[in-house]
Each structure stands twice: as C-alpha cells, then as structure tokens.
Amino acid sequence: MSEITKISGAEAVIKSLLKEGVDLIYGYPGGAIMPIYDELHKYEDKLNHVLTRHEQGATHAAQGFARVTGKVGVVMATSGPGATNLVTGIADAQIDSTPMVCITGQVASHLLGSDAFQETDIIGISSPVTKWNCQVTKASEIPEVLAKAFYIAKSGRPGPVLIDITKDAQFELMEFSYSKCKTIRSYTPVPNYSIKQLKKAAELINNAKKPLIVFGQGVILGNAETEFKNFIEKTGIPSAWTILGLSALPSDHPLNVGMVGMHGNYGPNVLTNQCDLLIAVGMRFDDRVTGNLDTYAKQAKIIHFDIDPAEINKTVEVDVPVLGTVKETLPEILKLVNKNNHQNWLGKFHSLYEKEYSKVIKEELHPTKEGLSMAEVVKEINIASKGNAIIITDVGQHQMVACRYAKFNESKSNVTSGGLGTMGFALPAALGAKMGAPEREVVAIIGDGGFQMTIQELGTIFQTGSAVKIVVLNNNYLGMVRQWQEMFFEKRYASTELVNPDFVTIAKGYYIEAKKVSKREELKSSIELMMNSKKPFFLEVSVEKEHNVFPMIPTGASVSDIRLD
C-alpha cells in the first residue's frame, strides 16, 4: 500500500512548487537536474518552464517577474557551470532584496567531493550572496526544505535562496506530505517596533521646520504605498526617492521632489545638507545616495524606518531607529503626527528644480543639438505610455537618464539593477516582468554595451512571444565609463568604444520586428509604432555619442557639492 503512494524526490520538488503556488519557472536543464525536468514534462499543464538561453538570463527573468508581482521568482539549473552561471543574478537579488528560489541539481551524494563531472561547491560559492542556502541529499527532506526556502525568500527583508539537490535524492522514493513553513525559531523576519521610538520619531517630525523624507524600495516591498502616501500628505513633507524607491510614489505627486544620489535631482541632494530632519523610509544609505559620509546631513536629526536591524547605523548613525515593516509603523506614526504643510520649504525644492531645469533638463528634453538625447527618447516613451508602462533598465548612462526622466503612475513599475549594477540585467528582466504583468506595457531601455551581455535572450523573448518592447540607446560607447574617463582620466578612452553589429538584423534574425532611428523627426512615430505593436518590438536609437549625465556628485564629494555641469 505504501509503495503506491511513494513518489520520487524529483516529483516531490514539482509538487512542493505547486503547493507554493508556483506556475512559472525560468531555467536550463542539464545532467544533474534531469530527473526534475523529466517530472516537469509531466506537469507542464500546471507549471510553465521557460527555457532561457543562459542561466544568468533565468535569474534576471525571475527577478523581473518578482519585482513586478511581489511573488517569489523561481529558477532551475543544473550542477557545475549551470549553478555558477546563476551567481551574478543571485548576488543582484541579494543586494536588491528580491525574493527568489533557485534550485540546482548536484552530482549524486556518493560523488560529492570527488571532483565529479560538473561538480561544483555551489553551497560554498553562493553562501555570501544568498539569504539562505541548503544542500539536500535525501528525498525525504525535499518538502520541508522547499517550504523553508519559500518562507525565507519572501518573508521579512526578501532575498534569494538556493537549494542544491543531489541527483540520487531526485531519484529516491519518498512519501510526500507538505506543510507550509510559518516560523523558524532562529529567524525573526519582522522585528517588533517600539512605541517609545515611534513617539520620539513623531516628536521630531512635529517639531521639524525643514524635514525631508528619503524613501526606498522598502515602501514597495512592504506594499505600503498607500500608508506612505497618507503619511506624507498629512505631514506635508517633501519626499525624495532612491533609485529602487522609484515608482512607489506617483511622479506627479506634489510632494515628490525627485531622486537623491549621484545622478539624482539638484534640490533633494543640496537640501539634504540643509534639512533639520531627515526621515529615511525603507532605504539603506547606499554610498551612491550619501556621497561623502563625513558631510552627509550632519546638521540634521535622522529617523530611520527599516525592517532590517543590520541596516541601522550601518553607514549613517541615526538618532531614532524605527524597526519593523513600514506597512505597520507608518499607520502607527500617522496617529502621532500633526497635520502640517511645509510650503516655504517645499518652495526651495521648486526653485532649485528651476535651476536644474534651465541648466540641464531643458536641453536634455528639448535638445538644440542635432544628435538625439537619451532623455528625449524617454520623454517620448512617457508620452506614448502616459506613464503607465513598466520601465526596465540596465546599468549605465541610459539607466540614470531613464530613472531621472521616466514618469510613473503605478508602483512596482521601475525595475533596474540598483545595488549590484549588473549590466545585462534588463533584457531578461523585461521578459520576466512582461510574463508577470502581461496586461501591462513593458519597455526595456538598454545601452548598447549591456544589451550585448545578455543579447541571447532575444531568443527566449521570441520563443515565448512575450510582447516586450526593447529600446537600445546606442552611442557606441560604454557611456558611463567613458564619461568618467572624460571627467577624471583626461579623456583616455581605454576600452570603452564599441564597434557594434547591425542590431536590427540581429533582432530580425530572431524574428522580432525591428527598426532603427537616428533622426529626431522619426523618433515620435517610431516609438508610437513600437508601443502600438502587440508583439515584441526592437527599436535601436542612435544617440549623441559623447554625452554626459548631469547633475553629478563626483565620488568622494558631498551631496551638496552636486555639479550641474
């Protein structure tokens, strides 16, 4: 009787995934994971497996999916090179707090440590870049370990988890039963907030004359967009965002004062060093945000709302930490803060914006030069999408420009590699985003450098037919590195010029409709053509070759020393 109810470890993996509500996996098969793929075949009506063209592409696709849905992205790969190819995506998910479960095959347990074919110590390799990882050598452990994996990946501050399953454990028979993981005694996903700290924070907020909020991805990960909006609207505090906080607050909100950090807006950077109270909400004071720490907001009291105790006082010493999820702490503090407005103080942001507009933004959006600017391409996308598109960016100049100029009405609409700065992220992430939010327009904006790092995923986009809109801003340079070479290395352009292939032909080779634009008068109509297409579309835009992104805080400078030219 019990013989009949026994299933293989491989089937237990699939059943566990189904119990967790997974219906989409990105991956790449190989020797050590074949038993699981064999089971996938049987369950293909319930579980869609997308074959990417490289395992790194699978991780970024899962990240794109996770970032727009808030669900856990799932990745599968084989042992050895399959597993090591995941590492960049895992590290990216770790630093950007993206929930992801990666399942890797491993050589049979009796071969562990023997340097067997395609054996690699992926547990050792992935330890520093995973929230948790675990090797499974017995089929009976599979349901419990996978339940833990999903719980850890999505609870608290989310992150990537890797589960390595030996081939013999995949073949071994076991009796399947599944119960979701609800608690782990050594793990506190959401620390308790203290009423005392909330009261202290509220008092500082109520007494502040020039308060500034800087919010990050914590607002999005905590699904606290409404709570956040209620908080800023009651207190009337100008609110600036980090790159991963972008889209948590609509672009046209009157209290949205723009981006902080290296290529952020002039006003919030300059005024960081004039505010009397800095309120950090779900952000981690990254060095690209703070510039020189010795001169960062020294005049201000600082309140830090964060779910992760390790972020408190990590780089910036704060006066009042408020632990917990902002979904809970913001409504609590809302009861304690006075209704207020800071019109004069907000006016300072507006007047500094005017300065930035006349010195930078005007020429960016309405160039008088012949060459196309990256920003005017983003502007045309805004017009065509009405601010309703999900914008995926890669890393470099185009990323900074897109984040500066893209308009968003909805949250979870900005997907980019923030912390790790992974070139090659955007194309596969866009595929994942489109599959996660098929009803929405997904536009990937990518540089010509990063595009070629994962260009093979055009094949996956073609095979899945996902209607991703791909815009490559081509300046034939690794633009951001070239900008630094121009500014700080006396224009010595060491290995930054790219001699590029005919991208349109490549896209067409993958049967993706494609077009190239190099003249301003064709830009608007080309973007409309792309946006109106119901299929994947590739648009190459030749942009000004040697153009620099401003404003800019040079490395080591203070945020208030941000340069407009």
């Binding site: 050792g124 520093p128 105790p309 390790a310």
Partner: protein, 177 residues
C-alpha cells in the same frame, strides 16, 4: 575621532547547520577582519552550538558585525564582550624531548612554577599542558623554548560571560531544571 581596536569575544548561538561556519567566516572575510581564534562546540542547550570568535576591532565595527551575524537565518543570537566582561581561558600543549626533562633541573622548576601539568611521558618526548590566559601560555613557551620545543599548539579561546546571556529566554526554553 578614530576609534581604537579592542579585543572582543563574540559568542554565537546557532542551530547545527553544515554551512554555517562558512557563512559566519564570510562575514569577517568580506570586511577584511582577521579572526584571532575560533572555537565551535555544543552549547549548554541541547542541539544548540556555540561559536566563540576572538577579534581585535573597534566597538562600532563589532556592533555591525554582530548584526550581520544575527541576520543569518540559523543564528539564534550573537553577543560580544570585552575581555573585562568575560572569564576566558586557552589551553596550550608543549612537546619537549624527554632528555631535557631528565637532564635539566630547571625545566622541572619551570613546570612546577607555572602550574602546568605533565600529560604524558615517553622515552622520546613528554607533553606539558598549561591552561590560562594568553600571557601565561606565552610565558611558558618562552621559558621552554631554549630546551627545544618539538611541537607547540594552543587552543582557541573558551569563555563564559560574567553577565547572563539569556539565550534560553530567547528560545523560550527553561534550562533551570
């Protein structure tokens, strides 16, 4: 403004997990902090392990490191203590040629004065054990060295805090029984 380094004993209570040593040591590696000594053993609570790690860093760094260690899923709690806040010992073993023991009167005196114990004696060598503070084991090393040390080994630090650590409370266990 620059803080001085101090010696801290970090105690980490963990679930027994295969990969945890790797994860914990990676936290130090990532920050370029060298570990002066490391001991792992079963703790006073069943199925819970304790790592004792000695490092020499600033107070603000040790505070940050502790939070990173506690962030690891299978870590139950981590604490740090200065030398003043702990009772700690190390054990050292010294292997010396037996000839020296029989021929040199002074060596017997050294052993007696240092309150070391002779663990084993064979025709070729004998082994002395000394438990104490680092300075005590080092003093004995210096004294024995002229007589030809064949081998010398010192354990990691073992320590208990003067204040209670309340690890059982964290786990909701009652260990008073």
């Amino acid at each position: 403004m620059s803080e001085l380094n101090n010696t801290y004993t970090i105690s980490v209570y963990t679930e027994n997990n295969l990969g945890l040593l790797n994860r914990i040591s990676a936290i130090f590696l990532k920050r370029h902090i060298s570990i002066e000594s490391l001991t792992t053993s079963q703790s006073e609570i069943e199925n819970i392990f304790r790592f004792i790690i000695v490092v020499s860093i600033t107070k603000s760094r040790v505070e940050r490191v502790i939070k990173q260690i506690e962030k690891q899923i299978e870590v139950i709690a981590a604490f740090y203590h200065s030398n003043e806040e702990t009772i700690f010992l190390e054990t050292a073993l010294y292997k010396v040629k037996s000839k020296s023991l029989f021929n040199e009167k002074t060596i017997q005196k050294i052993i007696k004065n240092s309150q070391a114990n002779i663990v084993t004696v064979s025709p070729e060598y004998f082994v002395i054990e000394k438990t104490g503070w680092r300075k005590d084991t080092e003093k004995l090393y210096d004294e024995l060295e002229p007589y030809g040390l064949l081998q010398f080994v010192r354990s990691g630090r073992i320590s208990v805090s003067k204040e209670p650590m309340n690890i059982s409370n964290i786990l909701g266990l009652n260990t008073d029984k």
